[in-house]
Structures are given as structure tokens and as C-alpha cells.
């Protein structure tokens, strides 16, 4: 990137800068006209100059010029207007000028703003574009949060500066020069004084500000390091807690903040010091004018009028001077920021833009063998991982790489995947250096999965299909406002040097997954998920999440059928008591009292959890049903029992998981509440306290908690209250609750709850597992298995995929690599988080899936244990960075080498 900011700006905004300068010069005309006008109004119509005679008129808008050689030219002789009419006309002209000046200002500011924002967009894009092209080694040395801060925060002030980059010095310099010239014309000596002071200002102030720049740079670096550290704490929060180092982190952050404070405070001190000096110098000049100028007047060498004019003119000098100095400060400031960022983003060996260039059409298959030629790989510290290895993988060949702990097979896999660059030698595809092939070839015809998985914070589906999104494949047609918006998007993107690729296009390369479009992609997805044994996990996720009904209409449409099938099935297997179904007219003993009262799923915050008892409408229903007092007494009983049972336990005790009524933190509050309310009559208890107590009763399930608090009469009353609640439900609560309806899908509930439409019996410890497998069978029978898998694929994997287990993440990574159907599949200990048995199972599945439909990709698999090397065409053994054995499984086994040793 351009090392000088000024040159960078000039290069990209030359035309615009000149244009805006012209506009500004043009805007000077009405600006100066508006200066002159008040004088005309006051002297003319108001004071009556030229209107001495009653009925006198003067020409208005008379256009005449005195041109050299030609003499007077009269363009327009003007309107003859009387005094009042002239006042009106001149006032209107004044108003017009105000409007014109305002419009000019608006246009100029908008233009400058847009110019700055476009440049900011360009810089940010350039930076991220470079990040995408950095060589792999760079990423071992930078913290992601620091790069993010640079792109986001550190270049931000550039946007504000760019509009003024060239305009401001021209304009302000011009103004200052004019004022200076005027002073010089009035009196040379006074002018000389002004010049001396200005020179002092110009020399001294920037010098003093140099320290400001140093401090500013420090501020930038420390702030960047801070954000890097904060990012690190967030990423490594597990390590912090595991090692009880949170106070070490606190100390580190506090020390950094202390340093930042010191730098910032220094900065303030200097800034105001410089400001003081600057103001002082500016004020010094009038002092000298008064003193020396006054002396000259007294001595009769200067007349009063000149002195007044000089002082008047000087008023116009400090303003532009100050702004000019400020502009210079800004310039240096952003220049420093820019340089800092550019330095960070200027790296050796940056990947050429052609490597990552957009390629719409799929390249042909890679039919050449992949070979390592004298390949050496080193780690970041310079230690050799691989030492001059030469080997070749032919197309369609399956190779297991077996490695001793120091073998270096992983480094070879990383070199094949271009994740690390060779120290010497090269990886070649046929005759081409692999590093020189465009990513459009290697990224589509090769795939790679390792134990170190990165997932984006998106749905499982997005992560799985990520490997297929190489280029926008469809052109989306927009109409109406959307089309205008799209045109604007493209136009603006081009103006800022951004690409205009449409993110809303369909980027998924269906063909490489062996599909023809969105409708049959799912089949391919399902097959790879089955191969890596991830389907079951995703189904479980699907059951536990609530389905998006706009997309998964099938589930909702067939919910009645599903529920009926489940009932029949349970009936057949004699498992009826496993599930107690919800029935609109009956109390469900396995559900809480709260669930029985509401008989629906809360779809908003109004009726959810703790808010329920405090909801005024709900409270009024309880009162009408005669339940408020009963539930209050019940709550008191529960509070007493819970406190008796749990008060002695430490708050982090695992038994608290069993206590559904209150959390460990709430126990002391309930203890005091109980003391306070114990001997008070129900009527004397405040609404808020009642709600606190009644809430407890809502979590009560008789078969589970066994306090003996539920009577038949109470159950009847609760069912009655339920009906009352829905009869008079106020409109504002209509959307806060979805009533359980045997014929309706409940969007706010999970898929599992929807299918069950009831509660699992609390007395059957194995009920959840049994029900789950029955539900899967039913879904399969009804052809809804795929639909549920689809719901599960909506699951958001969280930041870095952390909502999945390590094993699930690795399986997903392998599935993603498989889905692409590559010519070379490189797997680098991809399943290390799984146990040996599952690894072997997935390995067999993957080998089979990769070769389905007559495909025959080359597979290079760095296996975690030599036992996994059976079933490969060829086994290569690495030890101490050397290739030590190479042959079929049988030959190696027959030999007496390391492989045999490793196996035993």
C-alpha cells in the first residue's frame, strides 16, 4: 500500500478533490456578496442615502462593468425602485444569498463527507483484502482482535480528514494570506510584527506537537494491545478459570489501563499546554499593535484610521491560522495512524491477487499426481519438521500416513493443504508448484480437514456448505425499490474500489456436491453426515430446538398425525405411562402447576417464568378462581420445606440442581421473606411479596417433589382457572402465549415437546432415552426424518463452534471436506477427539462415501494410530522428519521396520 497518506488520497480522489475546490471557490462569490449587502441595506433604504428626495428612485440590479480598453459596458439598466421597494428587494436578495450560501455549504459538506466515507470504505476493504492474502506464517504472530481494531477503529479518523485533506490548506491559507496582505498594505511595520508572531507560531507549535504525535502513537499501540488482550481473555476464558488466573488477568488489564491513562493524561496536558501557548501568541499580536501602533499614532507616524483597520484585519488572521495549525495536527495524526496500520499490513510474501481471483466456472479435475519434491518444513522457531522428503501421491490412490510423535506427517499434510509454506523444496501438482495454482483449483479440487477445526458463528448448515461457496453462481433479479438499492450498491462499491459481488446470490456450488440444485442437495448432505456419524447428534439438536415454521412447514402440517402415531406406538408397546399427554380439560400430574395453569408455551417475556406470578391479569384470574390464597399457602409451605432442606448447603452444591423452586442465591432472600410473612395474615401481605411466594408453587410437581400439596379439588380449580384465563385474555397478551391445542403445532415449544404433547413420567428414569428412539422411528416411518435433520441443521454453532463438542466439530469438518467431492482429500488426524473405535468406524465410512458413484479421489490420511492404516492402498511411515517406510500394508507388516514396531 501507498506509504504516504497524502499520496494515497491524491491517487484515489484527485478528480473529486479538484472538483470540490472549484465548488468552494465558486461558493466564495455569494459568500462575499452577502458581506457587502448589509452595508447596502443600512446605508441605502434604511438611512436614506440616495433617497433624499421624496419619491426618488434608484436602479436595482443594474449590471454594468468597467472593462479595460472597452470602457463602460451596460448589460442591464435595472429596475427603478423607490425606498421601501428597494428595502424589500435588497432584503429578499439577502434572504436569497442566505439560502444559496446554505445550499453551497450543504453540498460541500455532503460531498466531503461522502468522499471521506468512500475512502474509508476503500481503506478498510484494502486492509481486509490484504488479510485474505497474508502468508500463513503471519497469522501465528498477530492477535485477531488487534487486526480487527486496526481495520475498524484505527482508520476511522481518516474518513473525517480526507474531505479536508487538500481543501482546507488552500482555503485557510488563502484567507490568512489575504488578511496578512491587508495588514501589510496598511502599515509595513505592524505587518512585520504580525509576520514574526505567525512565523513563531508556525515553527514552534508543530514542534511542540511532535511530542503529541509520539504520545498519540503510543496511545494507538497500547489501545491496540489492550483489545488484543481482551480478545485473548475471551478466547481463553476456560484456561483462565481452570487455573484460577482471573486475578492475574485483572492485574494485567489494570496495568495496561494505567499505562493508557498515563499516556492519555500526558496527551491532555500537552494538548492544553500547546493550546495555551498558541492562544497566548495570538493575543500577543494585538498587544504589540496597541502598544507600538499606539506609540506610532502618538508620535504622529501612523493615523488612527490605519491602526483601527489593522486591528480589524488582524481579527481575521488568528482564526484561519489556528484552523490551519489544527489541520496540520490532524494531518500528522492521521498520517501516523495510517502509517502504523500500513506498516502492520505490509508483509513480505503476500499472496498474489491472481491466486484468489474470482473464477465462476469450475476448473477441470486435478489429474496430475501430487508430489513433494525435496520438501522441508520448519516450525515457527526454525526447528525442522520434515527434512527433504520426496514422495508422490497418484490420483485415486489411498495413502495412510503413519507417524511417530516426531514424524512430521502432519507437516506434510499441511504443506499439501497450503496451510504452511515449504522451508525449501516444493509441493507440486504435476509440473506446477502447488503454491502457484489458483485457489479456484486447489480450493475446489482438493479438500482438507484436521483436528484443529474452525467454525463460523452461523448455523450448522451454513458451516457445512461453507466449503461450496466459491463464487456467486446465480444473478439475482431485483425489482422496484430493491433494484434501485442494488444499482446503488454496485455503483457505490465500484466508486470505493470494492468488488460488486452479490452476497445474496446463490454461492453454493451444487455440482461439486453431486447435486443439481437446492432440492437434491439435502441428499448429499445427509449422506456425508451419516458417514461421519453426525446425523444422530443433529437430530437430537433438532428435537431440542424450536423449528422455524416458515421453513419447516411439513412438521407443523403433520403434527396431529405424529402425535397420534406416538400414542399408538406407546399403547402397542405397553409404555402408555411413560408420557402423560396434555388434555385441555384435565390436570397433567407430571407437569408443574404453572404449566397446568397456563396450558401453553410463553411466546414473550410477559408470561414467562418469574414474570408470570407478577402479571396483573394472571393474578386477577387466580383471585377469581379462588386460587390466590391456596397457592400462596402452598408457596409458603414449599419455601419452608426448601429452606429446611437446603439452607445449610453451600451455594455451589450440586443438590441445588434438584431444587426447582429457587436458585441457591435466592435462598437468603426467601429466608428473610419467610420470617417476615410467617405470622401475617394473607390480606396483610403486599402484592409483590405474594407474587414472590406464589411463584414457588408454579414449579411444583407432585410425583417429583412429593410434599403432598396437591389435592383433587385444587386440580379441578386449576383446570377451571386455565379456562378462565383464556376466555378473557386481554389483547396485549394474545401474542405472549400459545395455547396447547392437540391439533396445532406450538411454535414457541421445541420439536420434542410438540411431538410428545405431554410430559414424561417423572418416575421412569429411562423414559427420555426410550421416547427419543421411539420418536426417531416414528419420524422415519412418516418420512419426516429429513425434515427434523433440517431443523437440526438450523442450530447455531456459536462463536468458533463452541456450542458443539470437540468431537462434533471435527466430524463436521470432515463432512465439509467430503461434501466437496474433491480429487485429493487430505485428512490430518481429523478425528482425534473421538475414541479409537469411532475413529475407525468413521474412517471406513469416509473411504466408502468418498468413492461412492464411481468417484475415485486420492485420499491422504494422517492416522492417529497405525492400526487405522489397514484398508489403504499404501502406507507411508515417518520418523524424525524422514520418510522411513513406504509400501502396502502387507509388505510393511512383513518387514521388520518401524511400522511393525508401532503396531505392536
Amino acid at each position: 500500500m501507498e506509504p504516504s497518506l497524502a499520496r494515497y488520497i491524491w491517487k484515489h480522489t484527485r478528480k473529486q478533490q479538484i472538483w470540490i475546490l472549484l465548488i468552494v471557490l465558486l461558493s466564495m462569490i455569494p459568500y462575499f456578496m452577502s458581506f457587502d449587502l448589509p452595508k447596502l441595506i443600512v446605508n441605502g433604504p434604511i438611512q436614506g442615502k440616495g433617497f433624499e428626495q421624496p419619491g426618488a428612485t434608484l436602479p436595482f440590479m443594474r449590471l454594468h462593468y468597467n472593462l479595460p480598453f472597452i470602457g463602460e459596458v451596460l448589460l442591464f439598466s435595472g429596475f427603478q425602485l423607490g425606498r421601501k421597494a428597494t428595502l424589500l428587494a435588497l432584503s429578499i436578495v439577502f434572504l436569497l444569498l442566505v439560502v444559496i450560501n446554505g445550499l453551497f455549504k450543504l453540498y460541500i459538506n455532503t460531498y466531503k463527507g461522502r468522499l471521506g466515507e468512500r475512502m474509508l470504505r476503500r481503506i478498510r476493504f484494502d486492509l481486509v483484502d490484504r488479510v485474505l492474502r497474508f502468508p500463513p506464517i503471519y497469522f501465528k504472530r498477530v492477535k485477531s482482535a488487534e487486526v480487527a481494531t486496526m481495520v475498524k477503529d484505527e482508520v476511522e479518523p481518516l474518513g473525517g480528514f480526507i474531505g479536508d485533506a487538500f481543501l482546507q490548506p488552500v482555503l485557510l491559507g488563502g484567507q490568512a494570506l489575504t488578511a496578512m496582505l491587508f495588514i501589510m498594505v496598511q502599515n509595513v511595520w505592524l505587518g512585520a510584527i504580525a509576520i514574526v508572531i505567525v512565523v513563531i507560531q508556525i515553527v514552534l507549535i508543530p514542534r511542540m506537537r511532535r511530542r503529541l504525535l509520539v504520545l498519540g502513537r503510543q496511545r494507538q499501540l497500547t489501545a491496540r494491545a489492550l483489545s488484543g488482550r481482551v480478545g485473548e481473555i475471551v478466547d481463553g476464558i476456560g484456561a483462565v478459570h481452570v487455573h484460577d488466573t482471573s486475578n492475574y488477568e485483572r492485574a494485567d488489564i489494570a496495568a495496561r489501563l494505567g499505562l493508557i491513562f498515563k499516556i492519555r493524561f500526558d496527551l491532555y496536558q500537552w494538548k492544553f499546554m500547546v493550546k495555551f501557548l498558541n492562544n497566548f501568541l495570538a493575543q500577543l499580536t494585538p498587544f504589540l499593535f496597541y502598544m507600538i501602533g499606539g506609540y506610532l499614532v502618538i508620535a504622529g507616524r501612523l493615523d488612527v484610521g490605519q491602526l483601527v483597520a489593522v486591528i480589524g484585519a488582524y481579527k481575521d488572521l488568528p482564526g484561519p491560522m489556528k484552523e490551519l495549525i489544527d489541520w496540520d495536527q490532524d494531518r500528522q495524526d492521521v498520517q501516523v495512524k495510517y502509517q502504523q496500520v500500513v506498516e502492520q499490513f505490509t508483509v513480505e510474501d503476500i499472496i498474489a491477487p491472481t491466486i484468489g481471483a474470482l473464477t465462476i466456472d469450475n476448473p477441470g479435475p486435478m489429474t496430475n499426481p501430487l508430489s513433494a519434491v525435496g520438501l522441508s518444513m520448519a516450525d515457527d522457531g526454525g526447528a525442522m519438521l520434515l527434512n527433504r522428503i520426496s514422495m508422490q501421491v497418484k490420483p485415486a490412490e489411498t495413502v495412510a500416513l503413519v507417524s511417530t510423535p516426531t514424524g512430521g506427517a502432519e507437516a506434510l499434510a499441511e504443506a499439501f493443504a497450503r496451510l504452511n509454506w515449504p522451508e525449501s523444496g516444493k509441493v507440486a501438482s504435476g509440473a506446477d508448484d502447488l503454491l502457484e495454482l489458483p485457489e479456484a483449483v486447489t480450493g475446489r479440487r482438493m479438500s482438507y480437514a484436521s483436528s484443529d477445526v474452525f467454525l463460523f458463528q452461523a448455523s450448522l448448515r451454513d458451516n457445512l456448505l461453507y466449503g461450496l461457496k466459491h463464487a456467486p453462481l446465480t444473478s439475482v433479479t431485483y425489482d422496484g425499490a430493491a433494484a434501485d438499492q442494488q444499482r446503488w450498491n454496485i455503483d457505490e462499491a465500484r466508486r470505493s474500489g470494492n468488488p460488486d459481488l452479490d452476497i445474496h446470490s446463490d454461492w453454493i456450488d451444487y455440482a461439486s456436491a453431486g447435486a443439481t440444485g437446492p432440492h437434491d442437495l439435502f441428499e448429499a448432505v445427509r449422506r456425508v453426515l451419516d458417514a461421519v456419524l453426525l446425523s444422530r447428534d443433529i437430530l437430537d439438536l433438532g428435537l431440542r430446538s424450536s423449528a422455524d415454521l416458515t421453513r419447516h412447514t411439513k412438521l407443523a402440517g403433520r403434527i396431529v398425525e405424529l402425535r397420534a402415531a406416538l400414542r399408538t406406538r406407546l399403547e402397542q408397546e405397553g409404555l402408555r405411562e411413560l408420557v402423560v399427554p396434555f388434555e385441555p380439560g384435565a390436570y397433567n400430574t407430571e407437569a408443574t402447576i404453572g404449566q397446568n395453569l397456563l396450558f401453553g408455551a410463553a411466546a414473550g417475556p410477559e408470561l414467562a417464568d418469574k414474570a408470570l406470578a407478577a402479571n396483573p391479569y394472571f393474578a386477577s384470574v387466580l383471585k377469581q378462581a379462588g386460587l390466590d390464597r391456596t397457592l400462596y399457602e402452598m408457596g409458603m409451605e414449599i419455601a419452608e420445606q426448601a429452606i429446611e432442606l437446603f439452607a445449610d448447603l453451600p451455594p455451589d452444591h450440586q443438590f441445588f440442581q434438584q431444587l426447582a423452586f429457587m436458585s441457591a442465591e435466592e435462598i437468603p432472600a426467601y429466608e428473610t421473606l419467610l420470617q417476615r410473612l410467617k405470622n401475617r395474615s394473607y390480606e396483610a401481605v403486599s402484592e409483590a411479596d405474594r407474587a414472590m411466594i406464589i411463584t414457588l408453587s408454579f414449579a411444583y410437581i407432585e410425583p417429583r417433589h412429593r410434599f403432598g400439596l396437591l389435592t383433587d379439588e385444587l386440580m379441578r380449580k386449576i383446570v377451571a382457572a386455565r379456562n378462565q384465563f383464556y376466555e378473557n385474555l386481554p389483547p396485549e397478551l394474545q401474542n405472549a402465549i400459545e395455547r396447547y391445542d392437540p391439533a396445532k403445532y406450538i411454535a414457541a415449544a421445541t420439536v420434542m415437546d410438540n411431538v410428545l404433547f405431554g410430559r414424561l413420567g417423572n418416575n421412569h428414569p429411562d423414559a427420555p432415552d426410550r421416547i427419543r428412539s421411539i420418536v426417531y422411528e416414528i419420524l422415519d416411518e412418516l418420512g419426516l426424518y429429513a425434515e427434523l435433520l433440517n431443523v437440526g441443521l438450523d442450530f447455531n454453532v456459536g462463536a468458533g463452534g463452541r456450542r458443539l463438542t470437540g468431537g462434533q466439530r471435527q466430524k463436521l469438518d470432515v463432512a465439509r471436506a467430503l461434501l466437496k467431492r474433491p480429487d485429493f482429500l487430505i485428512l490430518n488426524r481429523p478425528l482425534s477427539a473421538l475414541d479409537q473405535r469411532i475413529q475407525e468406524k468413521v474412517l471406513r465410512n469416509v473411504l466408502e462415501e468418498a468413492r461412492r458413484d464411481g468417484h475415485s479421489p486420492a485420499i491422504v490420511w494422517v492416522v492417529t494410530s497405525p492400526a487405522m492404516a489397514t484398508g489403504f492402498d499404501r502406507v507411508i511411515v515417518f520418523d524424525s522428519g524422514q520418510l522411513v517406510e513406504d509400501g502396502t500394508h502387507e509388505t510393511l507388516l512383513a518387514g521388520n521396520g518401524i511400522f511393525k514396531e508401532l503396531l505392536s
Binding site: 429446611e644 432442606l645 437446603f646 450440586q654 443438590f655 410425583p703 417433589h705 412429593r706 413420567g761 421412569h764
Partner: protein, 148 residues
């Protein structure tokens, strides 16, 4: 059967008889009440031991696998506890338990049981006493068997 009745039942289990009722109530509350119908399996031989069971009503058979199929070695009646040894020594189940009639039991989870032992030494001592008692009985039986 309510929580307080369960406490009464637990008190009649020799292992818990010396423990104060408040602790037993906590034990009962944090345990799951489970129901089995006749013929259902509580756990199988070789399963991982994750809980002990106190029989509240009904009866169950303890079965051991043999070449000629499962053999019943003992019968469990109300107020008896089963499976506590396996959760104490982290082993897998040495026998299977099958409900002989409709059965109600209190399922005490392993981690809860161990936690209680850690927290209430009097309970641990009581359990030790019962186990030592059993051991001396077994030893006596063994001596009898040897001398006979």
C-alpha cells in the same frame, strides 16, 4: 407415598438408621422416585453403576448370569437397599436386579450418595459400620464354610 413417608422408610434401612431425619429428608428429596412393573429390569449385570436403589414397595430378584441362564441368588423386600457396593467401589454391576412384582423404589444417584458421605461424616461412619458388620459376617460364613 410422600417425602416424609419415604424418610420413615429410609430410617428402617439399617444403612441409614443412625442418620438424623433432616439429612435423610434431603437424601430422599434429591433422589428420584421410580416405578417398575413386574418383570422390568432395574439394571443389568456389567452395567456401569450409577445409582443405588431403596425398595419402597413390592419385591425384586437379584440375578446372576450363568451358563444355564440367569440364576436368582436373593430376593429384595421393602426397606432393603441394593447397588450401594458398586457405587462405592466404582465397579460395574456384579448382578442384575429385576422387579418381581410391581415395584416402587427410591433411586439414589451415585454422585449424590458420595457427596452426602463426604459432607456428613456421621453418615459415612454409619455406612462403614454396616459394611464392616457385613464383612465380619462374611468372614464368619467363610470360616464356617472352610471348617464344615
Amino acid at each position: 407415598m410422600l417425602l416424609k413417608d419415604e424418610v420413615g422408610m429410609l430410617q428402617r434401612v439399617p444403612l441409614f438408621s443412625g442418620i438424623e431425619p433432616a439429612k435423610l429428608k434431603l437424601l430422599a428429596f434429591t433422589s428420584d422416585r421410580v416405578k417398575y412393573s413386574a418383570g422390568q429390569i432395574l439394571f443389568r449385570q456389567g452395567d456401569e453403576a450409577d445409582a443405588a436403589y431403596v425398595i419402597l414397595s413390592g419385591s425384586a430378584d437379584i440375578l446372576v448370569d450363568s451358563d444355564s441362564g440367569p440364576i436368582k441368588v436373593a430376593e429384595l423386600l421393602p426397606n432393603s437397599i441394593v447397588g450401594e457396593i458398586a457405587i462405592l467401589c466404582n465397579s460395574s454391576r456384579t448382578a442384575a436386579v429385576r422387579a418381581a412384582t410391581d415395584l416402587e423404589a427410591l433411586r439414589i444417584r451415585k454422585d449424590h450418595f458420595l457427596r452426602l458421605m463426604r459432607e456428613f461424616p456421621e453418615m459415612t461412619i454409619e455406612i462403614l459400620r454396616v459394611l464392616a458388620d457385613r464383612l465380619s459376617h462374611t468372614t464368619a460364613d467363610l470360616i464356617d464354610a472352610r471348617t464344615a
